[in-house]
Structures are given as structure tokens and as C-alpha cells.
């Protein structure tokens, strides 16, 4: 069925290409230039529209029916695209007949040549891969090609003696530099992006696929069901609620404390202000590990907050970094505004809420985001003070306490141990796909934040940020 659709669309593409070529041949016969222009535009419109419809049809059909031969689809799609492109250029080529358009025609021919070379290279790569069936041969050949290219440019570099050639040499050097820079950046980008791709890919595979010796870089039948299983197994129900509650309360509390403290440091005058501020700043140097031991004793033994929300919220309500960030923003607001407000009879609080906060909104959003992300990502402290009581059999423990009190990051690390969950056969030992489904579930909100609120994060960070 799918093959038929593909065949039809391919045929349609070929027919359209041919039609385009024939139409443009007759186009050239038209002597009147204006009329020809008009006809040309019309034909172009019709053919582009037809091509778009065919392409859209193919793209819609692809995900609906899973083709056993994924690569064939890609190849056919590429062939269709290239055919369309060639036809488009061909029309342009015929259309250009005036003398002053000769240069354009030349350019068009050059482009066609480049396309041809690209197709040839792609075909060569495919052929080498097919013949040798090994990646290393391909990599060696590509490296040799690159070296050859470098050598070619280098030769051109040596040959140069006249002024015109010096310009050419500069151009060659520039091109080489660009190639090196972009290659470097692309390699780093691959290093950065591949873990995300691999995470999503693995989360959609079956244990059978994962058991293969060589993992394929794509999957033919994505297992959306993995997510359902993973969410159930990781007990996200409790920890997600915990994380949201802790995140919202601690963000709100921390924001209020930060706003008042920053306001006092930035605007009010009182004795010992600067000394206190430098003491606050000095505490940024103290590693959190120094505080963990005593804070654990304070929270668990003295306050008796084991397995509770306040154990996760209260110790981290004050962050000197946020106070510092907001104070810097408040300091930028001119004093004149404050005195003007005073003359109008506005109180300090009124001034803070009506004037300062609206001006500092971007910084506040930054703090909000960082704090929320902090709760979403915290692992060590919740693991230390809270525990998973959902399976507790204790009689003294009240029922409402019998739930998982940890946060979302704890539940992805703690679950999916093969020896506990797995059965005896070789496939149930593998839990990577479930692990990756859970990590995708946890990473997705962060990526959404990244996509929509990147601006605030980057601004906050580049203003001398410390993570979390």
C-alpha cells in the first residue's frame, strides 16, 4: 500500500518535472517578452503548488503507516526534492535569454553543477558504505578527502604571485578558516545534542532492540507505552506532587524574603548595613557540605521534620546569591524616584511594590526560574532527610505519612534496578528504555522552560551566575 503511494508520488514528481520542461520549451517560442513573463509566472505557480501538494501528501503518509524500509522513503523523498529543484533551475535557465541575464544563467549553471557534485558525493558515500559495510573505511575516506581539499587550497596558496592572486589567496584562507570554525562548532554541537537524542531514542525502543549488539540510531516502531510503564514504576505520582508543592512554597517564601532583604540592603539606611552585607556575601564561600551534618541533625532530630515538606523548604529559603542579584537591580533605580515618592507621601512598602518591583520584574522572573529548577533538580538533601514510606508496615506511623516523601529526581535514580524488577529471561533484565522514558519525562519541563524562557535564564546567568 505504502509502496504504491510512494510509487505514485514519485511518478507524479517525474511527470511534473517533464511537464515543466516541456512547458518551458514552448515558453521560449513566445516572442513577446511581456507575454512570456506572464506565462512563465503562471506556469511556475502551478508547478510549485503541485509539488508542494505531493510533498505534503508524502509527509502525511509517512508517519501514519510505518514503512519497513525507512531509508527507501528518505531516498525517494530526496530524489523528488532534487528533481523538483533541477526542474526549477531548468525553467530559469530557459527563461533567461536576454544578454544582461547571461551572468545569472552562468550562476544557475554553477548551482546545478554543485548539486550534481553533491549527489555524486552522496552516492559515493552510500556505495562505499554498501561495499565495505564498515564505518571506519568511510571515516578514513572522508578524512582523506578533507586532507586533499586542504592540500588543494594550500597549493593554491603557494602558487600565488600577482596581486589578483593575492586576493584569491586571502579568500582561500578565509574559506579554510570558516570551514575549520564551523566544523569545530558542529562537532561540539553534536557532543551537546547527542545525549538528548539518545535519551529520547532509547526511551522509545523495545528491550529486544536494546539487546542487539549494535544499537541502531533510529527506531522503526516507537514504543509510547514505555512512558506509561515508566511513570507507573517510578512512582512519579507522589514525588511529582511533592516537587510541585515544595517548589511553589519555597519559591514564594524565598522570593518574599529575598525582596525584603534586597530592599533593605539597596534602599534603606541603617547602621551596620554594609558590614552585614559583606558578611552575607562572605557566606557564599562556605561549601554546603559544611552545613549538611548539623542541618541534618537540626531538621531530623531537633525539629523532628523527617518525612515532611518543611524539611525540604525551610533550610533553603534564604539564598545570598538571589539577594545579591536583586540588590544590584534595585541599586540601578535612580534615587530621585524614591524622593519623589516620599514627597507624594508614599510609604517604603508602597514604593517597593508600586515602583521597584515592576522595574525589577525580569530579575524576579530569573530568580523564580532558578529556584523552581533548584527544587526540580535537588537530589542529595531530599534523599538524606526524607524517605519512601509508601511500603512501610510500621504501626506507629500514621497512614497519611505512608507515602513517598522524596522529590522527583530521587525517584528516577532509585527505580528501575534490574535485579529487583526484572524477571528471569534475558529481556526483562534490560531497563534502559524505562530509565530513559523516566528521564525524558523529568527533562521535558526543563526543556520547555529552556525554549520559552531562555532569555531570562541567560541574562541572570551571565550577570555572574552561580547555579541553583
Amino acid at each position: 500500500m505504502l509502496q504504491l503511494i510512494l510509487f505514485i508520488s514519485l511518478m507524479a514528481a517525474i511527470v511534473i518535472t517533464a511537464a515543466w520542461c516541456v512547458a518551458s520549451y514552448f515558453l521560449v517560442q513566445t516572442k513577446d517578452l511581456d507575454e512570456r513573463e506572464l506565462k512563465y509566472v503562471q506556469i511556475k505557480k502551478v508547478i510549485i503548488l503541485a509539488s508542494i501538494y505531493i510533498l505534503m501528501g508524502m509527509l502525511l503518509v509517512m508517519p501514519i503507516t510505518y514503512c519497513p524500509n525507512f531509508i527507501a522513503i528518505i531516498v525517494m523523498l530526496c530524489v523528488t526534492l532534487i528533481l523538483g529543484w533541477i526542474a526549477y533551475y531548468y525553467v530559469d535557465l530557459l527563461h533567461l535569454s536576454e544578454l544582461n541575464q547571461a551572468t545569472k544563467r552562468k550562476e544557475t549553471l554553477k548551482n546545478l553543477f554543485i548539486i550534481a557534485v553533491a549527489i555524486l558525493i552522496a552516492a559515493a558515500i552510500a556505495l562505499i558504505l554498501y561495499l565495505t559495510k564498515s564505518l571506519s573505511a568511510l571515516i578514513i575516506i572522508l578524512a582523506l578527502c578533507f586532507l586533499g581539499w586542504m592540500a588543494y587550497y594550500y597549493l593554491g596558496y603557494l602558487k600565488v604571485s600577482t596581486v589578483e592572486q593575492a586576493i584569491k589567496r586571502d579568500k582561500a584562507a578565509k574559506v579554510l578558516k570558516l570551514i575549520v570554525v564551523y566544523t569545530f562548532l558542529v562537532v561540539i554541537a553534536i557532543y551537546v545534542v547527542v545525549p538528548f537524542y539518545w535519551m529520547i531514542l532509547t526511551s522509545l525502543k523495545t528491550p529486544m532492540e536494546l539487546n542487539e549488539k549494535i544499537q541502531l540510531p533510529y527506531t522503526l516502531n516507537p514504543q509510547w507505552n514505555n512512558y506509561k510503564v515508566a511513570i507507573k514504576q517510578a512512582n512519579f505520582a507522589d514525588t511529582l506532587v511533592n516537587t510541585i508543592i515544595v517548589g511553589v512554597i519555597s519559591t514564594a517564601g524565598s522570593l518574599i524574603i529575598t525582596i525584603f532583604a534586597a530592599f533593605a540592603f539597596a534602599r534603606l539606611n541603617f547602621k551596620g548595613r554594609d558590614a552585614l552585607f559583606s558578611m552575607f556575601m562572605a557566606t557564599m564561600m562556605i561549601p554546603g557540605e559544611m552545613l549538611t551534618v548539623t542541618n541534618y541533625i537540626t531538621v531530623v532530630k531537633i525539629l523532628g521534620w523527617k518525612d515532611s515538606y518543611q524539611a525540604l523548604i525551610v533550610p533553603f529559603l534564604v539564598s545570598v546569591f538571589y539577594i545579591y542579584l536583586l540588590r544590584q537591580t534595585f541599586k540601578q533605580i535612580p534615587d530621585e524616584l524614591y524622593y519623589a515618592a516620599k514627597v507624594d507621601g508614599t510609604t517604603d512598602l508602597g514604593y517597593l511594590f508600586k515602583v521597584m518591583l515592576p522595574i525589577a520584574t525580569p530579575t524576579i522572573i530569573t530568580i523564580l526560574l532558578l529556584k523552581m529548577m533548584g527544587s526540580w533538580n535537588s537530589y542529595m538533601w531530599p534523599n538524606l532527610v526524607n524517605s519512601d514510606q509508601s511500603a512501610s508496615k510500621s504501626i506507629t506511623l500514621p497512614d497519611w505519612k505512608k507515602r513517598n516523601w522524596q522529590l522527583i529526581t530521587n525517584s528516577i535514580r532509585g527505580s528501575f534496578r534490574a535485579e529487583e524488577d526484572g524477571g528471569t529471561d534475558q529481556y526483562s533484565r534490560i531497563t534502559s528504555h524505562l530509565q530513559m522514558a523516566a528521564t525524558t519525562f523529568v527533562t521535558a519541563p526543563l526543556l520547555l522552560v529552556f525554549i520559552f524562557l531562555r532569555k531570562y535564564l541567560m541574562r541572570g546567568v551571565s550577570r555572574s551566575g552561580i547555579k541553583g
Binding site: 564498515s134 570554525v181 561540539i188 554541537a189 557532543y191 545534542v193 547527542v194 545525549p195 539518545w198 532509547t202 536494546l210 542487539e212 549488539k213 549494535i214 544499537q215 524574603i257 525584603f260 532583604a261 540592603f265 534603606l268 539606611n269 541603617f270 547602621k271 552585614l276 557566606t283 564561600m285 562556605i286 561549601p287 554546603g288 557540605e289 559544611m290 552545613l291 549538611t292 551534618v293 548539623t294 541534618y296 541533625i297 537540626t298 532530630k301 531537633i302 533550610p315 534564604v318 517604603d348 533538580n377 537530589y379 529526581t409 528516577i412 534502559s432 530509565q435 527533562t443 526543563l446 526543556l447 522552560v449 531562555r454 535564564l457 541567560m458 546567568v461 555572574s464 552561580i466 547555579k467
Partner: protein, 327 residues
């Protein structure tokens, strides 16, 4: 009258912050230091009963035994058979390999990004992505990518190129790889992950520093025919030195405290997955956290050691920066 009123108003605004800072920052700092110098301490003793006996309260003798201050906790730390050869060495390897690597790499990336016009924003956005991720979650992804049981991305690539699969994280049960090999490959993966995590922040800082440099310096260098490498070393690096020193101090401190990445790639104890109970991949912070509940005095002592090391390094760093930074 106005100023007099403001005197106490300021403290009212600051009160919640100060109280919380006292309870959760100043107080723990003192207590942790005191606890570190006890020979024995258990959480059941209660927080403020610092002079209570070591083992229960029976008789006057044990009361005096309770005044058990000394260097016992430090001795326990130093005599731990794994402390020097694993926890300390691993921490130092992480610090001295990952910090120079990340800073050099991010400097190169920032310079490359600054030199292009097309796609600059695109690459900048991509490079910032790891910053907003969960370090536990992505560490698990790296563990899957470098997995050998089942094979991950890296082993698949190796096999398809005709090589043998490598047991990167010591997860295989056949025990073919030697202990040294597992430790080497495991640390390599750990550092690859740490660098991946640390890049975005540094690129951002360095790029914003680079964009603040006056173009005239480069034009002058170009007229003189200075080579690209020389321009980088003689103009870019000195003018960026405030940012570089800042990054060096923060990332030295940060990598001394590496914890989440180890937990994510291996497990809470830093053992290889094979099950040998040797903390191949432990760091000092791992040692601290693993002792918090059972032996708080040992954890405090280790935390104090870490604090002193960090202080020394920060001092050294700022001493160097005062000599070399070009403001």
C-alpha cells in the same frame, strides 16, 4: 526622626533572612567544627549535648570519657583505606583534568562563536542547553550511552568500526577488564560528562566578555600581521583574564564538590556496578554524605578538610589573579 525610624525598620525587613541564616548557616558552621573534633559522636546524643558521654551515661568515669575531644575523627578519615587512594585522588583528578579542559574548550568555542556571523545565535542556543538539565537524569543518559550491558551508542560505534566493545563503567559481569582499566575508563566517562555539564555556563560568561572587547585591538594586530594564535594568546586571553579567573575560582570550588554526576553515572557509593565494594569512583563529598547519618563526626571532619582545601585553593587563585589579571 526619619533616620531614627529607619534604624530599626531596616532590621525588620532583614529579620527573616537573618534568623534563617543564623539557624541554617552560622550555627551549623560552629557546630560542625566542634563535632569534627570529637572522638565519638552519634546523632542520638542530641545536638547541644556536646559534652555528653560517648557510650551512654553511667558513672562518673564515662562522664569524663564523654568529654572526648581530640583528633579521632580526623584519624578515622585519614586511616580509611580508601580515603587517599580513591576519594582524594579521584577528587584531585576531576579538579585538575576537568577544570583546565573545560576552560580551554569553552574559550575556543567562545572565540569561534564570536568570529562567525551566520548561525551564531543558533549555536549559542544549542550550547546553552545542558545548563537547564537535571544532572542526575542526564548522568543516567551518559551511563546508557557508554553502557556495555546492553551496548550503548559508543560501543555500537566501536563495534561497527570493527573494534571490540569496552566495559566503560565496569558494568559487565564477565570481569574481563582489569580494575585499573575500569577505573581509567570510568573516570574518563565521568570527566566527559562533567565537561558536558560545565560548558554552557563558561561559554556564556566568556562570550559576553569577548563581545565587550574593543575591536581596535584586533585591527591593530591585523595591520601588524600578527598570527591568529598570537592574537589569541596576547590580546584575547589577557583582556578576558577577569572572566577567566572568575571561572577558574568558581569551577575549582564546584569540581571539588562533584557529587551528583558520580551518583548518576555509578551509584550512591561510587562503586563500579560489578559489585566490588571498593569506591572506585568516590569523591570527598561522596565520603562526607555517606557518613552523615552513621558517623557525623567523621563527616564533619571530612567536610572541614574539604573546606580548608577549598579555602587554600581560592586563596592561591586570588593571589595568582592579583599578579596576572589585566584590568
Amino acid at each position: 526622626m526619619e533616620t531614627k525610624k529607619n534604624q530599626w525598620i531596616g532590621w525588620v525587613y532583614l529579620a527573616p533572612a537573618i534568623i534563617l541564616m543564623l539557624v541554617f548557616m552560622a550555627f551549623p558552621l560552629i557546630i560542625t567544627t566542634i563535632v569534627a573534633f570529637r572522638n565519638d559522636y552519634r546523632i542520638g546524643f542530641g545536638l547541644l549535648q556536646l559534652v555528653y558521654p560517648a557510650d551512654g551515661f553511667d558513672g562518673i568515669q564515662s562522664y569524663f570519657a564523654g568529654l572526648n575531644y581530640g583528633f579521632g575523627a580526623f584519624r578515622t578519615v585519614f586511616k580509611n583505606e580508601y580515603f587517599w587512594s580513591y576519594y582524594m585522588v579521584n577528587t584531585l583528578i576531576i579538579v585538575f583534568v576537568s577544570v583546565p579542559l573545560t576552560i580551554t574548550l569553552s574559550l575556543l568555542i567562545a572565540v569561534a562563536l564570536n568570529s562567525i556571523k551566520k548561525l551564531q545565535k543558533f549555536f549559542q542556543t544549542i550550547f546553552f542547553m545542558p545548563y537547564v538539565t537535571n544532572s542526575i537524569a542526564l548522568g543516567m543518559v551518559f551511563a546508557v550511552m557508554f553502557g556495555s550491558n546492553p551496548n550503548g551508542l559508543i560501543n555500537s560505534l566501536l563495534i561497527s568500526m570493527g573494534n571490540n566493545a569496552i566495559d566503560w563503567l565496569g558494568a559487565a559481569t564477565d570481569g574481563n577488564s582489569s580494575a585499573l582499566m575500569i577505573r581509567f575508563t570510568g573516570m574518563a566517562v565521568l570527566i566527559i560528562y562533567i565537561v558536558w555539564q560545565a560548558l554552557p555556563f563558561k561559554i556564556l560568561i566568556l562570550l559576553s566578555g569577548l563581545q565587550g572587547i574593543d575591536k581596535q585591538y584586533y585591527q591593530a594586530a591585523q595591520i601588524d600581521g600578527t598570527s591568529k594564535f598570537r592574537t589569541l594568546m596576547r590580546i584575547t586571553v589577557p583582556l578576558l583574564s577577569p572572566q577567566i579567573i572568575y571561572l577558574m575560582i568558581t569551577s575549582f570550588i564546584g569540581s571539588f564538590k562533584e557529587y551528583n554526576s558520580v551518583v548518576a553515572l555509578f551509584n550512591k557509593d561510587g562503586y563500579p556496578v560489578t559489585g566490588a565494594n571498593i569506591p572506585y569512583f568516590g569523591t570527598i563529598v561522596l565520603y562526607i554524605y555517606n557518613n552523615v547519618v552513621m558517623m557525623p563526626h567523621v563527616a564533619s571532619a571530612a567536610a572541614l578538610i574539604l573546606f580548608v582545601i577549598i579555602l587554600l585553593f581560592t586563596g592561591l587563585n586570588s593571589w595568582i589573579s592579583n599578579k596576572f589579571v589585566h584590568y
